[in-house]
C-alpha cells in the first residue's frame, strides 16, 4: 500500500462550498492514518489556522494552500448548454500549495491583491499578471472540475488543455506544475483524465492523484447539497444539476486510492513525494509587530523612558511624595523588564493611539491587565494608579510567561471609535493594519431557517419555527431543537421533517460567512498582507484579515482591541457638560473617593450606572456593601457566571458580612487569596493558585490561562486538569480539596474575569456613580444622549432622575436641540431639557434645520411661522411634534390638540386665486374646535411618540384603585414590610432576565411611581403563566416578600396582567 496524502481538500471555510470543519477533516485523516493533508479553501486560508492547530495536536503535517479564482482562464465547467441547468458562470479556480514561507507570503499577497482590487466585499479573481508577480514558492495543480484544465478541455479539447498547462508552466516553472487527476466515478470526468494523462506525457509533467475533497465522509455530501441550495437560493427539489452527482468527494484511504488509480500508480505515489517537498507550515508565519517610528532617531527604549518620566510628573506632580517615590521605583522596574523583553515598540504604538485620542478630544481608557502597569498609567493608557491601588505588575507582564502584553482600549462607540480605527489605517497603511475577522457560524435559528428553505418548507412555517427557537440564556430540558420543531407543529415522525431536524443539527457550528470583529485590529511591521490575506469588509473603509481573533492569538499575531463602550461616550459627554454647566473640571484619573457615592452604591440605587445596574448587581450590592474602591472591583467581578457557577459568590458575601470565617483551601494559598477573603474571584488568582499548589511553571500557568480564556478550550482544559491534579497530589493536597480547586479553575473557563480588567471597569462604574450622585443633570443628559445602552430604557432613566430630584422638561420647538440639553432654573440649578431626538420618527436633518432657523432668526411666532421657516419638516413630523406637546409654547397654541388642529392647516396656503383675498387662517376662529387631551390620552401620546413620560408614572393614576381593591403596595412601601409577609405589588415591567446560572428562574424588575421592585418567578410558575411573564407590560404580583440584608424580592406565587391602556412601553429583556 502506498502512503497516500490528500493534497486537495477544502473545508467548510470555503463558505457553503464544502461541508466539513477543519477538525473533522483532520480527524478523518487520523482515522485513515494519513501522514499529512493539504487544505485549499476557496480564495483564502480562512480555515488554515484551525486546520494547522488540529493537525499539530494529532501529529499530522498540515500543508497550506488555496483555490484561487483566476479570471483569464475562462469560466468553470458547467453542464453543456443543451442540458437544462442553472449554473452561473464563475471563473476557474487554480489550486496552489505553499512550498516555502516565501510561497505562503506570495499566496497571501496574491489573494490580498485581487480581494482589495474590489471596491467592496466580494470574491474577486486574480489576473495573470498577479500570478506572475506572486508565483515564487508556490506549487500549482491543474485542478479538478473547478480547475482550469477541465474547463479548457471542455472548451477546446486537448489543444486548449495543452495551452493552459503551458501557460501554467511559464508562470510557476515546469517543476512546480502537477497534472491533477481526480476520479469521482463520473463518466464525463474520465475522458478528461485520459486527455490530461496524454498532456502530462507530451509535456513531461508529473501526474498527481487527489480526490478534490469537499467533505470528510460520504454521508456529509448531504450537508454539501444543502449548502449548495442555500448558496444558490434554490430549494433542493429544484437545484438539479447544481448539486453533486454522487458522494465520492470524501477523504479516501490509501487502499481506496490505490485501487482507483491501479492503472496509474505513479499518480498516488507522487502525493507522498510532493508532500515531503512542501516544507512550509504555519508555525513560521514571519509576523513581526511594528516598531514605533521615532522622530529623533534614538532607541525606542530611550524614547519610552522619556515619555514615562514626563508622565510621572504629570500624574504625580513635581513634589516629592512617598507615593511618587514608590511609583518611580516601580516605573524603573517595569521599564527594565520592557527593555529586556523588547516590548517598547508595542507600548509606544498604544501610547501613540492614546495621544491621537487626547489630541482629538476622544476619551480613551485601557482595560485588561494594562491597569496593573505604572507605565500604562503614566502614558495615560489606563486611568488606574496601580501603585496607589496596590495592583501587581506581574499580572500584566512576566518575564517567565514571555507573552505579548494585552492592552484593550475602550473608546466611545460609533463615530469616534471609527476615527481612531481610520487613524490606525492611515498610520500603518492599508496593507499594514486590518480588523480581525468574526466567523459567523450556523446557530439554531439560522440553521432552522436556511435548511428549512433548502428543503422547501413554506415561509410561514419557517418563521413560526424560528420564533420558537429558545431566546433565553437559560435553557431547560424542553428547550431543544426537537421541542421547538414539535411546538411549531412539525411532525417528527415524518421522514422529511426528521431529516430537516437532523440536518439542522449537523450544520450547527459550521461557518456561514465572514464578518469583522467589532474592534480587534492586527498591525504588522512589514506588510500585513504577507502574513495573512486581507479583504474588504462590508463597512466602507475597512479591511479585514481572514482569521478571527482566537486564530490570530493561537498563531502569535498580536491584536489591539479598540472596543466601543457606550459608557465611555456617556462619561466623555458628561465631563464636557460638567465643565460647561457646573464650572468644574473633572477627570477619570483623579476622582475623589466620596462617602455619598458609596452610600448610594450600598443602597443599590444604581439605575444607569456602569456594570452595577443589573438586577443581580442590585441584589448583591447591599450584601457586599462597598466602602472603598477595591470593594467595587470585587463587585464588578463577582456577578459573573464564573464566580456564580464556581459557587464563590455566596461564600464571599457571607465572609464579607462576617457571617463566615475566612479560611483557605490550603494554608499556602493565603497570600494569593487574602484580598478576596479566601475565595478565588480573579483569573490572576487562578494562575497563582496553579503555580502555588501544583508547582506549575510560568509556561504551564500560561497554558492554563489561555485555556480558560478561550472559547474553544474544553479539550485543552481536560488535558491540563490531569496535570493540575498530578501537581497537587505531589504536594500532598487531599483529593476533596483538589476537587474544589479544579472546580474553581473550570468555572473560570466560561467567563473568568481578570482583576485588572475588573479594576478598569470598576473605575468606570465609580465614575458613573460619582457623576450621577454629584452631577445628576449632566449624567442623565449624557446617558439619554447615548441610547441605546445599558440595562434600562430611557423612560426608566428619566423616572429615576426625577425621583432623585432632577427637573426634566419636555421637548419644545422653542428650546430643544437635537440632543438633550441642560438649562438653568431661575435659581441657577440645572434642569434637563429633552432633545428633539426623542421625538420618534423625527429626522435629524429636519430637527437641525429647525434649531438653526431658531438660532438665526429667533423664536417661532406661530405654527404657521414654524411651517414657513422650516420647510424640511414634513406633515408627519409636524403632527409628531404637535402630539408630543413640543408646540405648546408657540403663540396661539392652547394645548396639544389645538396644535394638532393647527398643524393640519399649516403649510397649506390657499391657491393663488384666493391668496389675494385673505390672509391665511385669518377667517379661522381663535378657539380650537377640539377638546383638550385627557390625562390618559396625554400619557398614551407621550409613550407613543417619545417612549417616555415626564408626568406622573402610569401607576400613579391607578394607585388609589389598586390600593382600595387589592391592597397593592408600592415599591417604597415594600421596604417596610417584614420578611415572609404575603404582599401584593404592581408595576410596569422594565426588565426581564433568565440568566444561564439561575436554573430557569426568571427575574423581573417592576417600576412604579416610587421606585423599582424585584420579582422572582419560579420555572413552574413560568410554565403555568408564560404569557403574563413574557408579554404583559403591567403586572400585579403576589407572593411572600423576601427581605434579607437590605435585599428585597417578591417570590411570585400569582401573576395577573393589568390592562396597559394602549401604552407602548418597552422593557429590556435579557436572555
Amino acid at each position: 500500500m502506498t502512503n497516500y496524502v490528500e493534497l486537495h481538500a477544502s473545508s467548510a471555510f470555503s463558505f457553503l462550498e464544502s461541508a466539513s470543519a477543519p477538525e473533522d477533516l483532520i480527524q478523518r485523516a487520523v482515522d485513515l492514518e494519513m501522514s499529512a493533508m493539504a487544505l485549499l479553501d476557496r480564495n483564502g486560508i480562512y480555515g488554515a489556522a484551525q486546520f494547522h492547530l488540529h493537525a499539530k495536536r494529532n501529529g499530522i503535517r498540515a500543508h497550506i494552500g488555496a483555490e484561487v479564482a483566476v479570471s483569464n482562464f475562462g469560466t468553470r465547467l458547467t453542464p453543456p448548454a443543451w442540458l437544462p441547468h442553472q449554473n452561473i458562470p464563475e471563473p476557474v479556480r487554480l489550486p496552489l500549495l505553499c512550498e516555502t514561507r516565501e510561497g505562503y507570503q506570495n499566496l497571501c499577497q496574491l489573494i490580498s491583491t485581487f480581494k482589495l482590487r474590489e471596491a467592496q466585499k466580494d470574491e474577486g479573481a486574480a489576473k495573470l499578471d498577479d500570478l506572475y508577480s506572486y508565483a515564487q514558492g508556490l506549487v500549482c495543480l491543474t485542478g479538478g472540475d473547478e480547475g482550469p484544465l477541465a474547463a479548457a478541455l471542455m472548451r477546446g479539447g486537448e489543444q486548449a488543455g495543452c495551452k493552459v498547462v503551458d501557460q501554467l508552466i511559464s508562470i510557476f516553472g515546469r517543476e512546480n506544475v502537477y497534472i491533477e487527476l481526480q476520479r469521482h466515478q463520473e463518466r464525463e470526468g474520465e475522458w478528461r483524465n485520459q486527455a490530461a494523462l496524454r498532456i502530462a506525457n507530451s509535456l513531461g509533467l508529473p501526474v498527481l492523484a487527489t480526490n478534490g475533497v469537499r467533505y470528510a465522509t460520504p454521508y456529509d455530501r448531504e450537508v454539501l447539497d444543502v449548502f449548495t441550495a442555500i448558496r444558490s437560493g434554490t430549494p433542493l427539489d429544484k437545484a438539479g444539476r447544481l448539486l453533486t452527482q454522487n458522494s465520492q468527494r470524501y477523504i479516501r484511504s490509501s487502499a481506496e486510492m490505490d485501487h482507483l488509480f491501479r492503472d496509474i500508480p505513479q499518480a498516488v505515489e507522487q502525493t507522498a513525494a510532493l508532500s515531503s517537498r512542501l516544507q512550509f507550515e504555519l508555525t513560521s508565519l514571519g509576523y513581526e509587530f511594528p516598531r514605533y517610528p521615532l522622530p529623533d532617531g534614538g532607541t525606542m527604549d530611550e524614547f519610552l523612558r522619556r515619555r514615562v518620566e514626563e508622565g510621572l510628573k504629570h500624574r504625580y506632580g513635581h513634589k516629592i511624595s512617598s507615593l511618587k517615590v514608590r511609583a518611580k521605583k516601580q516605573a524603573e522596574h517595569e521599564l527594565a523588564l520592557i527593555a529586556k523583553l523588547g516590548f517598547a515598540g508595542y507600548f509606544l504604538i498604544v501610547w501613540d493611539i492614546v495621544q491621537f485620542c487626547r489630541g482629538n478630544g476622544i476619551l480613551i481608557q485601557g482595560r485588561g491587565s494594562a491597569a496593573n502597569s505604572i507605565v500604562c498609567y503614566v502614558l495615560e493608557i489606563s486611568a488606574i494608579d496601580p501603585v496607589g491601588k496596590g495592583l501587581l505588575f506581574e499580572r500584566f507582564l512576566s518575564e517567565r510567561r514571555g507573552e505579548w502584553p494585552d492592552i484593550d482600549l475602550d473608546l466611545p462607540s460609533e463615530e469616534k471609535r471609527e476615527r481612531v480605527i481610520q487613524y490606525v489605517y492611515r498610520r500603518y497603511g492599508e496593507l499594514g493594519a486590518a480588523m480581525t475577522a468574526n466567523v459567523i457560524t450556523y446557530r439554531g435559528k439560522s440553521a432552522a431557517r436556511e435548511v428549512g428553505k433548502a428543503l422547501g418548507f413554506d415561509e410561514d412555517s419557517l418563521a413560526r419555527l424560528s420564533s420558537l427557537v429558545s431566546q433565553w440564556e437559560w435553557r431547560d430540558k424542553s428547550d431543544t431543537m426537537a421541542h421547538s420543531f414539535r411546538n411549531a407543529g412539525f411532525d417528527l415522525n415524518h421522514p422529511r421533517i426528521a431529516k430537516y431536524l437532523e440536518l439542522c443539527m449537523r450544520v450547527q457550528g459550521l461557518p456561514r460567512h465572514l464578518g469583522q470583529h467589532s474592534g480587534g485590529m492586527v498591525i504588522c511591521q512589514g506588510a500585513l498582507n504577507k502574513v495573512l490575506p486581507l479583504e474588504r469588509a462590508s463597512m466602507p473603509g475597512r479591511t479585514v484579515v481572514q482569521w478571527d481573533k482566537e486564530d490570530c492569538a493561537e498563531l502569535g499575531i498580536i491584536k489591539i482591541d479598540l472596543l466601543g463602550l457606550g459608557m465611555m461616550a456617556v462619561l466623555d459627554d458628561c465631563m464636557k457638560l460638567i465643565s460647561e454647566h457646573y464650572g468644574s473640571h473633572v477627570s477619570l484619573a483623579n476622582l475623589p473617593e466620596d462617602d455619598e457615592v458609596y452610600r448610594t452604591l450600598q443602597q443599590a440605587d444604581t439605575v444607569g450606572m456602569f456594570q452595577v445596574e443589573s438586577r443581580a448587581q442590585m441584589a448583591s450590592l447591599p450584601l457586599n456593601y462597598p466602602k472603598k474602591f477595591y470593594d467595587l472591583i470585587v463587585q464588578v467581578a463577582i456577578i459573573r457566571p464564573g464566580p456564580i457557577v464556581g459557587k464563590m459568590m455566596h461564600p464571599y458575601m457571607r465572609r464579607r458580612q462576617g457571617k463566615e470565617e475566612v479560611t483557605y483551601p490550603v494554608p499556602i494559598l493565603e497570600p494569593v487569596l487574602k484580598r478576596t477573603l479566601g475565595v478565588p474571584l480573579f483569573q490572576e488568582q487562578l494562575l497563582r493558585m496553579a503555580m502555588t499548589v501544583a508547582n506549575f511553571s510560568g509556561d504551564e500557568a500560561e497554558e492554563l490561562r489561555r485555556a480558560v480564556g478561550m472559547r474553544r478550550s474544553w479539550e485543552r482544559m481536560k488535558n491540563i486538569e490531569g496535570k493540575l491534579r498530578a501537581g497537587m497530589s505531589a504536594n500532598g493536597i487531599a483529593t476533596d480539596i483538589q476537587d474544589t480547586i479544579v472546580e474553581n479553575v473550570s468555572s473560570f473557563a466560561l467567563y473568568g474575569f481578570p482583576e485588572s480588567h475588573a479594576a478598569s471597569f470598576a473605575l468606570l462604574a465609580y465614575a458613573s456613580a460619582y457623576f450621577k450622585v454629584k452631577y445628576l443633570a449632566a449624567f442623565a443628559c449624557a446617558i439619554l444622549n447615548n441610547q441605546p445602552m445599558g440595562f434600562y430604557a430611557p423612560a426608566v432613566i428619566v423616572k429615576d432622575a426625577q425621583r432623585h430630584g432632577l427637573r426634566v422638561k419636555p421637548i419644545d420647538v422653542q428650546k430643544s436641540d437635537w440632543p438633550c440639553t441642560i438649562e438653568q432654573e431661575a435659581d441657577g440649578s440645572p434642569l434637563l431639557r429633552l432633545g428633539l431626538g426623542y421625538a420618534k420618527g423625527l429626522r435629524q436633518q429636519a430637527a437641525e434645520s429647525l434649531v438653526q432657523s431658531r438660532r438665526e432668526h429667533g423664536p417661532f411666532s406661530s405654527v404657521e411661522d414654524l411651517a414657513a421657516r422650516v420647510p424640511l419638516l414634513n406633515p408627519r413630523e409636524f403632527t409628531l411634534l404637535a402630539n408630543t406637546g413640543a408646540m405648546n409654547s408657540l403663540k396661539g397654541v392652547l394645548h396639544r390638540r389645538d396644535a394638532l388642529w393647527q398643524v393640519e392647516r399649516a403649510g397649506k396656503p390657499e391657491g393663488p386665486l384666493l391668496h389675494s383675498l385673505r390672509e391665511p387662517q385669518a377667517t379661522e376662529a381663535a378657539a380650537s374646535p377640539l377638546s383638550q387631551m385627557s390625562t390618559g390620552e396625554r400619557l398614551a401620546a407621550d409613550y407613543a411618540e417619545t417612549g417616555l413620560t415626564l408626568g406622573p408614572h402610569p401607576m400613579h393614576y391607578r394607585r388609589a384603585e389598586l390600593q382600595r381593591r387589592h391592597k397593592v403596595l408600592s415599591a417604597a412601601e415594600l421596604r417596610h414590610v417584614k420578611n415572609g409577609q404575603y404582599v401584593r405589588a404592581a408595576g410596569c415591567v422594565i426588565a426581564r432576565q433568565r440568566p444561564g446560572t439561575a436554573k430557569g428562574f426568571i427575574f423581573l424588575s417592576m417600576e412604579d411611581e416610587t421606585g423599582i421592585a424585584n420579582v422572582i418567578v419560579t420555572p413552574s410558575l413560568y410554565d403555568q403563566d408564560r404569557l403574563a411573564v413574557t408579554r404583559s407590560r403591567f403586572l400585579l404580583v403576589e407572593g411572600p416578600l423576601q427581605s434579607q440584608d437590605g435585599v428585597i424580592h417578591i417570590r411570585a406565587r400569582r401573576l395577573t396582567p393589568l390592562g396597559d391602556q394602549a401604552l407602548a412601553l418597552r422593557s429590556h429583556d435579557f436572555h
Binding site: A81, W82, L83, P84, H85, Q86, H184, Q185, E186, R187, E190, E222, D225, L236, D237, K238, G240, R241, L243, Q245, N246, S247, Q248, L455, R464, S467, L468, S484, N487, A488, P495, R496, K499, T879, N883, R897, L900, W901, E904, R905, K908, T923, E924, A925, P929, L930, S931, M933, E937, A941, R1026, L1027, T1030, R1031
Partner: protein, 444 residues
C-alpha cells in the same frame, strides 16, 4: 402572540365556499323584496342595499318591510341588521353601527344626523391615515365629526374631509349601482327520454354550441374550452372538458373535438340531461406579427392531436423536455404550445467529431450479472450468456436523498462476447437500492 406560550393552538381555515353560498342565499333573499340591489360587502361582512322606492304598495311601509326582510334573513340562519333611511350611506352606517340589533332601525327623513351622531367613526370606510388623524384630534363619533367647522375641516383634509363630514351628517348623495350578473356561458337541456346514441346527443350538443357561440360572438369573445356534463340514468353524471390551443368559435371544430372525446370516453349509461359550460377568451389571431409565420390551421392541428391522444393516452402527446437532474433518463412531456418568442437564430452547431451512437433500451431489460471483486464478469442478455472482456466503471450517480424516492445507480460500460462469439457493447446499470441489474443501452 408567541405560540410557545400556548400548548396547542388550532387555526381554523376561513371557509370561502360557505361564505359564497351564504352570499348567494342572502342576495336571493333580498331579491324577493326589491329587484334593485347594490352590494357593499367588505372582506369581513356581507352588506347590501335595497332600493325600496315604490315597494310600499306590496311590501307595506318601511318598518314592515324591514321586519319581513330581517325575518327572511333569520330564516336562512344568518344574523343580520336592517336599517332603513332616505340616504344610502346613512342606512349603511346605521346598519354597521347596530350590528347586533334585533329590530329593524327606521330613520325618518331629516333625522339622519341625529341617528348617526352617537355611532363610532369606524362605521365609515376611513383610511388608516384618516382614522389616525381623527384619533389624534379626539374625534370618536360621527356627531363630533359632523360638528367640526366645515370650511376649516376642508382646509385641512380637503374634499375628502367634506365628504366624510357629509357622510357623518347623512347628507352625502349616492348614485345607485344595481348588481348585475356576471357573464357566464352555460346552457342546459333536459331530455324527454333517455338517449344512448351518440349521434342524437351530438345533434343536441350542436344546437347548444350554436347558442353558446352566438352569445360569445355578441361580446367579441371566443370559446376557449367547453365542458359537457351529462346526467346519466340511475343517478350520477359524466363530465368531459375539451379545449383548443387558441380560443375559437368554429362550431364544426368544437363538435368534432367533443365527438372524438366522447367516443374515447363514452358515458356508460343513457343520458337524461345535458349541461354545457364554456370558458371564454379573446378571439383567435391567425398571425402573431407582420414578420411571423402564419400559425398552423388550428382546427386541423387540434383534431389531429386529439386523435393521437385518443390512441396513446393522456399526457403522452407533446414535446419531450429534459429535466434538470442528474437522474438518468429523466424527461417530461410538455403539451405543444405556440411559441410567442422568436426562434433561435443560430441553432447549436453540429459537432465535428463523430460520436458513438447509443441505443437506449426503453424499458431497460433486466439481467443477471456475475461479479468478481465487485466487477461484472458475465451476464445474460436476450437468452445468451456474455463474458465481459472490458468493463469501465462503476459510474456512480445518486440523488434526491431528502425525498421519498432517493435513487442510487452504479453503471458499467462493458465490451462482452457471447458463447457464439458475438460482440456486444452495452451499458449495465445496477440499481444499488434494490440490488438489481439491467441492460440499459447498447453501443453501436
Amino acid at each position: 402572540m408567541e405560540l410557545n406560550t400556548i400548548a396547542s393552538v388550532v387555526v381554523l381555515e376561513r371557509a370561502r365556499s360557505e361564505e359564497d353560498s351564504a352570499r348567494a342565499s342572502l342576495l336571493e333573499c333580498a331579491g324577493r323584496f326589491s329587484p334593485a340591489i347594490e352590494e357593499r360587502s367588505s372582506d369581513t361582512a356581507f352588506l347590501c342595499v335595497l332600493d325600496i322606492t315604490g315597494t310600499d304598495k306590496y311590501c307595506g311601509p318601511p318598518s314592515i318591510l324591514g321586519r319581513a326582510l330581517l325575518d327572511a334573513v333569520k330564516a336562512i340562519g344568518v344574523q343580520a341588521c336592517v336599517a332603513v333611511a332616505d340616504n344610502l350611506h346613512a342606512a349603511i352606517c346605521i346598519a354597521r353601527g347596530n350590528a347586533t340589533s334585533q329590530y329593524p332601525i327606521v330613520v325618518r327623513p331629516g333625522e339622519e344626523r341625529a341617528a348617526l351622531a352617537s355611532l363610532p367613526l369606524t362605521v365609515l370606510d376611513l383610511t388608516e391615515g384618516q382614522l389616525e388623524t381623527f384619533s389624534r384630534w379626539g374625534i370618536r363619533s360621527l356627531g363630533m365629526l359632523a360638528a367640526l367647522p366645515n370650511e376649516q375641516l376642508i382646509s385641512r383634509l380637503g374634499q375628502q374631509g367634506n365628504k366624510l363630514q357629509q357622510l357623518a351628517s347623512g347628507t352625502w348623495q349616492h348614485h345607485f349601482v344595481p348588481l348585475e350578473q356576471a357573464f357566464t356561458l352555460h346552457e342546459s337541456i333536459e331530455l324527454d327520454s333517455p338517449v344512448e346514441a351518440s349521434e342524437s346527443l351530438l345533434f343536441l350538443v350542436g344546437a347548444i354550441l350554436e347558442r353558446l357561440i352566438l352569445r360569445a360572438t355578441n361580446r367579441v369573445l371566443a370559446l376557449l374550452s367547453v365542458t359537457i356534463t351529462l346526467s346519466i340514468e340511475g343517478g350520477g353524471s359524466h363530465s368531459r372538458t375539451v379545449r383548443t390551443a387558441v380560443a375559437c368559435n368554429d362550431r364544426q371544430l368544437w363538435l368534432k373535438l367533443i365527438y372524438l372525446d366522447l367516443e374515447a370516453h363514452p358515458p356508460n349509461r343513457a343520458v337524461l340531461a345535458l349541461h354545457m359550460t364554456a370558458e371564454h377568451g379573446p378571439v383567435k389571431k391567425v398571425q402573431l406579427g407582420l414578420f411571423s409565420a402564419q400559425l398552423p390551421d388550428i382546427p386541423k392541428l387540434d383534431i389531429t392531436l386529439a386523435r393521437i391522444q385518443a390512441i396513446v393516452g393522456e399526457g403522452c402527446v407533446g414535446s419531450p423536455v429534459l429535466l434538470d437532474t442528474h437522474k438518468p433518463d429523466s424527461f417530461a412531456v410538455k403539451p405543444f404550445a405556440v411559441s410567442l418568442g422568436r426562434a433561435p437564430r443560430n441553432p447549436p452547431a453540429a459537432r465535428a467529431a463523430p460520436l458513438a451512437a447509443i441505443r437506449q433500451l426503453r424499458p431497460p431489460e433486466a439481467t443477471t450479472v456475475t461479479l468478481c471483486n465487485s466487477r461484472p464478469t458475465a451476464f445474460y442478455f436476450r437468452k445468451s450468456r456474455y463474458r465481459v472482456e472490458q468493463a469501465y466503471g462503476p459510474w456512480h450517480a445518486s440523488g434526491d436523498w431528502w425525498s421519498d424516492s432517493p435513487w442510487q445507480y452504479g453503471s458499467w460500460d462493458v465490451i462482452a462476447r457471447s458463447d457464439a462469439n458475438a460482440l456486444l457493447c452495452c451499458n449495465l446499470v445496477n440499481h444499488l437500492s434494490r440490488n438489481s441489474w439491467e441492460v440499459a443501452a447498447l453501443y453501436d
